[in-house]
C-alpha cells in the first residue's frame, strides 16, 4: 500500500510538472506575450516598444529558465537599467534590491501577481476556491443522494415501468449540458417576461450571502448534468447485484423485498458508484466554469475564464495547478477508496 501511494504521488508530481509546463509554454508563445504587453502598457505600442517592454519585464529569457524561476528552482531574474536601478522578478516595487530573496517561485509559496486582478495570485485563488467550494458542497448535497436514490430505485426491478421512466430521466439529464439546462431554468424560473420568478437569474449576491433564492438554480444546473451519469452507473451496479446468487438465496428464505434491497443489496451496489462519483469531480469542474459564467458567480471557474481570456499567465498557471491537483487527487481517492470498500481487491 505504501509503495502504491508513493508511486501514485510521484506520478502526480510528474503529471503536474508536465501540464504546468504545457500551460507555461502555450501562454508564453510570441503572440500571447505581445497581447500582454499591449494590455499592460499601451494598446498603441509599436513593435519595437513591445519588444523593449517584454525585455524590461523579463519575458525574453529562454522559456525553460523562466519556467524554472516560476517553479522556484532557479534564481529570479534581475536587471540593471541605464540609471543603475535594479528591477527583478523577486523585487517588489517598494523594495530595495538587496532585501529581495533570490528565489521566488511556487516552491517558496510565491504564486506571483495576477495582471487582471492586480493582486497576489495565491490569496486570490484561495478566496475564489472557497466560493467554489461552497457551490460544490451544495451540489454534492443535492446530487449524490438523489442520483443514488434514482439509480437504486431504477435498478432494483430491472425492466419495470419505474426503471424505464427513471432511466429515461437519467438519459435526458446526461444529454442536457449545463449551458442548456441553465438557460432553460433561467427562462422557466427566473425570467421576468414569461417565467415564474421563483428564483434569481444571477448568483452574484450568493458570494456574500447564499440563500435558496439566489443559489438554488446554479446548484441544480450543475447537479443535474452529473446526476444522470451517476444514476446510470448506480443502476447498472444495482441490477448486477440483484441477479447475484445471495440475493436469490435471501429471496428464497422469505426475506421481504424491502429488506433485501436495504440490507443485502445496497452495500454491495454502492461500491461502483463511489468510484464514479469521485471521477465526476473533474467533470464538475467543467460545469462549474460554465455555470459560474452563466450565473455570474465570481468563483474559481469565473476566475479561470477571466485569466484565460486575458492571458494572465501566473493566475492561469495557479488555476491549472489547482485543476490538475483536483483531478489527480480524486483519482487517487477513488482507487484507494475502492480497495477499502471492496476487500476482494488488493493493491500490490
Amino acid at each position: 500500500m505504501g509503495q502504491f501511494l508513493l508511486r501514485r504521488v510521484g506520478m502526480m508530481l510528474l503529471t503536474s510538472l508536465a501540464l504546468t509546463f504545457v500551460v507555461f509554454f502555450l501562454t508564453n508563445l510570441e503572440p500571447n506575450l505581445e497581447k500582454i504587453a499591449r494590455s499592460e502598457a499601451s494598446a498603441r505600442m509599436t513593435e519595437e516598444d513591445v519588444g523593449l517592454w517584454l525585455d524590461r519585464n523579463g519575458y525574453t529569457q529562454p522559456i525553460l529558465s523562466r519556467y524554472g524561476q516560476w517553479l522556484g528552482v532557479l534564481p529570479g531574474w534581475t536587471r540593471t537599467d541605464g540609471n543603475g536601478e535594479v528591477t527583478g522578478r523577486c523585487i517588489a516595487p517598494d523594495m530595495a534590491a538587496g532585501d529581495a530573496p533570490t528565489f521566488c517561485g511556487v516552491l517558496q509559496g510565491d504564486w506571483g501577481t495576477s495582471t487582471v486582478f492586480d493582486t497576489e495570485v495565491g490569496a486570490l485563488v484561495w478566496d475564489k476556491l472557497a466560493l467554489t467550494g461552497k457551490l460544490m458542497f451544495w451540489v454534492m448535497v443535492l446530487m449524490v443522494p438523489s442520483a443514488l436514490l434514482l439509480g437504486i430505485l431504477a435498478g432494483m426491478r430491472e425492466g419495470s415501468r419505474l426503471d424505464r421512466s427513471l432511466s429515461t430521466f437519467s438519459i435526458a439529464s446526461t444529454a442536457t449540458p449545463e449551458y442548456v439546462s441553465g438557460v432553460l431554468f433561467i427562462t422557466i424560473f427566473a425570467s421576468s417576461a414569461v417565467g415564474l420568478k421563483w428564483f434569481k437569474g444571477t448568483a452574484t449576491s450568493a458570494a456574500e450571502s447564499a440563500n435558496f433564492e439566489n443559489f438554488f438554480l446554479p446548484v441544480l444546473t450543475i447537479a443535474l448534468y452529473g446526476m444522470g451519469y451517476i444514476a446510470r452507473m448506480t443502476r447498472a451496479s444495482m441490477t448486477e447485484v440483484m441477479t447475484a446468487q445471495y440475493i436469490r438465496t435471501a429471496r428464497l428464505k422469505g426475506v421481504s423485498f424491502r429488506n433485501i434491497v436495504i440490507r443485502h443489496a445496497l452495500r454491495n451496489a454502492l461500491i461502483a458508484p463511489f468510484t464514479v462519483i469521485m471521477l465526476q469531480f473533474p467533470w464538475l469542474l467543467n460545469g462549474v466554469v460554465i455555470v459560474e459564467t452563466l450565473f455570474n458567480y465570481k468563483g474559481f471557474g469565473w476566475t479561470l475564464v477571466q485569466a484565460a481570456g486575458n492571458n494572465d499567465i501566473e493566475l492561469l498557471l495557479a488555476c491549472s495547478v489547482v485543476a490538475v491537483f483536483v483531478v489527480l487527487v480524486t483519482q487517487l481517492i477513488s482507487d484507494v477508496g475502492y480497495v477499502f470498500l471492496n476487500p476482494r481487491i488488493r493493491i500490490a
Partner: protein, 480 residues
C-alpha cells in the same frame, strides 16, 4: 399583417385536448410510480400462481393511453399545419412544419425502406426492433436532414438584420416586407434583429458538419494507438497511457482557452497539430490493407498505392492552404482540393485532441480483454502477423462497444462544440451555430429568452437523440 399565434386555427380545438392529455399523463405516471411500491401479492387463479392486475398496472395503462394521445395531438398539429392554407391558419407550429416538409418526406422514406428491409440490414436493421433506438434514430436523422436541406428550410438569411425586428416575440410579422421575403419571424428576432428560426436551422448544419467528422478522426487516432497499446502492453502501453492521462487531467475548458484563441492560431500550432492528428487515418488505412493483402504482393501494391494516392491528396489538401501567409503550403493551388478556414480547423483539431485519449483508453481496455481469447491464439498459431491479428481478428470483435461509444461521443462532441461557442471561442461571433447563439442570447436571457431557447432545445434534442440511439444499439447488440 397579423402576428402569428402558436397553433393557428387548430388551437381552439387541439390546445385544450393537449393540456388535458399532459395533465392526465403526469397524474397517471405519478400514480403508477407511487402505487408500484405497494405491490400486490400473487394469488392462485385456477391452478396457476398469477398476479392480479394491480392499481399500478391500471395506472400504467392509463399513462400509456395518455402518452398515445399526446403523440396523436402533436401529430395533429404538424399534419394539420401542413394541410391548412395560409400562415395565419397554420400558426407558428404549422408554418414550421410546412417549412420542414422535405425533412418529413425524407424521414418517411428512410423509415419505410429501413423497416421493410430490416432483416437484411444487420445491426442497423435490428435497431428498428427497439422503440428507444427508433426514436433516437428518428431524432438524429431529423437533424441530419434539417442540416442537409437547411438552405431550403430557412426563411431568411442568418445574418440579415431587418429593422424593427429586434427582440421581437415568435410569430411577429415583418412590417412592410418586400415581395419574395418571407413575411414572418417564425421564432422571433434576436438582439441584432436576425431571424432566430433561420439561425437555428443553419446552426444544425454547422454542428452536423463538424461533430461526426471530428468523432471519426478521434476514433482513428484512438484506435491506431489503442490497439497496439493493448496488444503489446509493456513500455509502449505505459508511455501512451501516461500521455493519454496527461491530456485527460487537463480541464477541457482550460485546454480550449489555451488552444482556440486567435493568438495561438497565428502561431500555426493548430496546423501542426492537424498535421499530426490527421495522418492517423492514413496510417490506419495503410496498415489495415497491408496486413490483409501482404500475401498477394501485386494486389497489395495496387490497392495500397491507390489508397495512399487518394488519402494523401485529401490529407495534403486538408493541411495545406492557398493562403500566402499560411504555415504549410505544400500543394500547388490547382491541386489543393479545398481549404479549411483557420478557425474551423482549430475547433476541429481541439475537439479531436480532447476526445482521442478517451477513445484510446476504451479501445485499449477492450483489446486487453480480447487478446486472451482463443481465436486470437489460433491466429497467432497460424503464424499471422501482429497487425493482422490486431486489425482483422481483434478489432472486428470489439465493434459492438465501439459503435455504441461512437454514437455517445458524437453527442459529447456536440456538447463540446456548444461549450466552445458558449465561451465565444473558435467560430466567428456571427456564426449561426448553436453554442454561439446561446452565448449571444444569454445576456438578455431574463427579458427575452426566445433567442437562446431555440438553439438550446435543438442541441438538447440532438444529443438526447444520439444517447437514445446509443442505448438502442447497446440493447440490440447485447441481444445476440
Amino acid at each position: 399583417m397579423e402576428n402569428l399565434t402558436w397553433t393557428g386555427s387548430l388551437g381552439p380545438l387541439l390546445n385544450p385536448l393537449f393540456l388535458l392529455a399532459w395533465a392526465a399523463f403526469a397524474v397517471a405516471v405519478l400514480a403508477q410510480i407511487l402505487l408500484s411500491f405497494v405491490s400486490g401479492n400473487p394469488q392462485m387463479q385456477g391452478n396457476a400462481l398469477a398476479m392480479r392486475k394491480s392499481p399500478a398496472d391500471w395506472a400504467g395503462l392509463a399513462a400509456r393511453a395518455m402518452f398515445g394521445l399526446i403523440v396523436l395531438v402533436t401529430l395533429g398539429y404538424l399534419v394539420g399545419g401542413l394541410l391548412l392554407p395560409g400562415p395565419e391558419a397554420k400558426g407558428i407550429i404549422g408554418t414550421i412544419s410546412t417549412r420542414l416538409l422535405p425533412v418529413w418526406i425524407s424521414l418517411a422514406v428512410l423509415f419505410a425502406l429501413s423497416i421493410t428491409f430490416k432483416r437484411r440490414l444487420g445491426l442497423y436493421g435490428k435497431l428498428f426492433d427497439s422503440t428507444i433506438g427508433m426514436v433516437g434514430f428518428g431524432i438524429v436523422m431529423f437533424w441530419v436532414f434539417t442540416a442537409f436541406y437547411a438552405d431550403m428550410i430557412a426563411t431568411h438569411d442568418p445574418l440579415t438584420q431587418l429593422s424593427g425586428m429586434k427582440n421581437k416575440v415568435p410569430g411577429t410579422a415583418i412590417s412592410g416586407a418586400d415581395d419574395g421575403v418571407f413575411g414572418y419571424y417564425l421564432l422571433g428576432g434576436d438582439n441584432l434583429a436576425r431571424d432566430v428560426f433561420s439561425r437555428m436551422i443553419l446552426g444544425a448544419w454547422e454542428v452536423i458538419k463538424i461533430a461526426p467528422f471530428a468523432t471519426v478522426f478521434a476514433f482513428m487516432v484512438g484506435i491506431t494507438l489503442g490497439v497496439p497499446a493493448g496488444y503489446y502492453a509493456g513500455t509502449l502501453d505505459t508511455i501512451l497511457s501516461f500521455l493519454a492521462n496527461l491530456i485527460l487531467a487537463f480541464p477541457v475548458i482550460l485546454l480550449f482557452y489555451l488552444l482556440v484563441t486567435p493568438e495561438i492560431v497565428d502561431t500555426g500550432l493548430p496546423t501542426y497539430m492537424a498535421m499530426v492528428l490527421f495522418i492517423f487515418p492514413l496510417i490506419f488505412g495503410t496498415v489495415l490493407l497491408n496486413s490483409r493483402y501482404h500475401t498477394q504482393p501485386k494486389f497489395r501494391n495496387g490497392i495500397v498505392a491507390a489508397f495512399l494516392a487518394v488519402g494523401g491528396l485529401l490529407y495534403l489538401s486538408l493541411i495545406s492552404s492557398n493562403d500566402p501567409n499560411a504555415m504549410i503550403r505544400i500543394l500547388p493551388g490547382w491541386l489543393d482540393l479545398f481549404d479549411v478556414p483557420g478557425n474551423i480547423l482549430v475547433v476541429f483539431v481541439s475537439v479531436v485532441f480532447v476526445n482521442s485519449p478517451t477513445v484510446f483508453r476504451i479501445v485499449r481496455g477492450i483489446v486487453l480483454d480480447i487478446r486472451t481469447r482463443d481465436y486470437v491464439a489460433a491466429a497467432q498459431t497460424r503464424g499471422e502477423g501482429a497487425w493482422y491479428v490486431m486489425l482483422w481478428e481483434i478489432l472486428p470483435n470489439a465493434r459492438g462497444p465501439l459503435i455504441v461509444d461512437f454514437c455517445l461521443r458524437i453527442g459529447y462532441t456536440t456538447i463540446l462544440l456548444g461549450t466552445l461557442g458558449f465561451f465565444g471561442l473558435g467560430l466567428s461571433p456571427e456564426s449561426p451555430d448553436w453554442g454561439t447563439t446561446i452565448n449571444d442570447g444569454r445576456r438578455l436571457l431574463s427579458i427575452y429568452p426566445h433567442p437562446a431557447l431555440a438553439p438550446a432545445l435543438s442541441l438538447m434534442s440532438l444529443v438526447l437523440g444520439l444517447n437514445l440511439l446509443a442505448d438502442g444499439l447497446r440493447e440490440e447488440s447485447l441481444r445476440d
